[in-house]
Homo-oligomer: 193 residues x 2
C-alpha cells in the first residue's frame, strides 16, 4: 500500500494523516495478475478500478472483423479500468489485460463513492485525476484529428517516453492509429535525422 | 441563473437548498456573446469556464498551415472552455467562439475551487461532469481510431443528434476529422438506404 500512499501524497495539497490512510487502505484489495491475464473482458461489467503498483496493462477493442485497436496503455501509478462500464455498471466493449505481470490495488464503484464522501483527500485526488485525464484525452483527440502520422509519433515520444521501452512497436502503432509499417518507416526517418 | 439551477438539480443526487444556490450564484457572472465573438483566442489564458444558457459555441485549432480543426462543439447546458489552460493557467492552443449569439454564466478557476470546498452539491456536480466527460472523450477516441468515416458519422448522428441542426456540414465534417466531400458522399449514401 506504500505506493498508493506515495501517489496520494504527491497528488493532493492536503496532508494525508495516518487515520485518513487507514480509511483509504480499507477500501482497496491487493491482487496479482499474470502476464496476459485478463483484468476485464468484453461483455463483462468493470467491477473494479485498478491502481497499478507494478507492471503494465493495456486496454483494447476488437471490431467485427477481428481487428484489434489499442485504446489505452497503463504503467505504474496509473489507474486502469473501463470508466463507462465502472460508472454505469454496464457491459464493457473493451478488453483489459496485463501486458507485464502486475501488482494492482482494486477498488469497487461503491467504495469509490463512499471514500469520496468520507475522505476529502481522496475526493481531491479523484477531482485532480479526472481533470488531468480530461486534459490528456482532449490533447489526444486534437493530435489524432489534426496531426499526421509522423507528428503523432513525435508527440507520443515527447509525452509518453516511458511507454517506449515497455510496449512493442505493433502495440504503439495501434495506439497511434497507424500501421506497423508506417511506424517503422517513421522511426527510420527520425533516426536518420 | 434559473438554467444553472435546473441543470444542477438534474445532475446531483442531493437537494440544492436556497442557501446553497445563493452561494453558487455568487460565483458566476452573466455575459452575452455576439455571433462569432471570441470567448478565447490562441495564446490567451482561459480565465473563465462558461456554462451555456443559450446559444452554440465551438472550439477549434489552427495548424501551422492555417488548416482549421473543430475540436469540440457546445450547446445549451454544456460547459465550454479549454480545460488545460484553465487548470494550468497556461496559454491556450485553441480558439473558442460563439457560433450563435450566446448567453453564458462565467466562473473563474479560483471560484471553482472555492465552490468545490464550500458546497458539496457543486463538488458532486463537478465529479459527475468530469466522469461523463471522460466517458465521452474515451468513446470519441475509440470511434476516431477504430471506425471508418461512415460509421463515425452514424455514431455522431446517434449520439449528438442535437448538433445536426445547429452546425453546418463543413463544421461537422471537421469535428469528425473527415473532408466535407466525404461527409457529403456519406450523407447521400445514407439517404438512399
Amino acid at each position: 500500500m506504500q505506493a498508493l500512499y506515495d501517489y496520494l501524497s504527491k497528488k493532493v495539497s492536503q496532508v494525508i494523516t495516518e487515520e485518513d490512510f487507514d480509511v483509504i487502505k480499507g477500501h482497496f484489495t491487493y491482487k496479482k495478475l499474470r502476464k496476459r491475464q485478463f483484468f476485464l473482458e468484453e461483455g463483462e461489467i468493470c467491477k473494479n478500478y485498478a491502481f497499478i503498483v507494478k507492471g503494465a496493462m493495456r486496454q483494447y477493442y476488437i471490431d467485427d472483423k477481428g481487428v484489434e485497436y489499442t485504446i489505452n496503455l497503463f504503467v505504474e501509478d496509473w489507474w486502469a479500468g473501463d470508466r463507462e462500464s465502472f460508472v454505469m455498471q454496464t457491459p464493457s466493449v473493451y478488453y483489459l489485460d496485463a501486458w507485464e505481470p502486475c501488482e494492482v490495488l482494486l477498488i469497487t464503484r461503491e467504495d469509490t463513492l463512499k471514500l469520496c464522501a468520507e475522505c476529502s483527500a481522496f475526493n481531491e485526488m479523484l477531482l485532480k485525476l479526472d481533470e488531468r485525464n480530461n486534459i490528456a484525452t482532449q490533447k489526444r483527440i486534437t493530435s489524432t484529428i489534426s496531426l499526421n502520422a509522423e507528428m503523432r509519433y513525435q508527440y507520443f515520444v515527447d509525452n509518453y517516453p516511458f511507454f517506449l521501452n515497455r510496449f512493442p512497436q505493433h502495440i504503439i502503432a495501434s495506439f497511434l492509429g497507424i500501421t506497423k509499417d508506417t511506424l517503422s518507416r517513421i522511426r527510420k526517418k527520425m533516426m536518420r535525422k
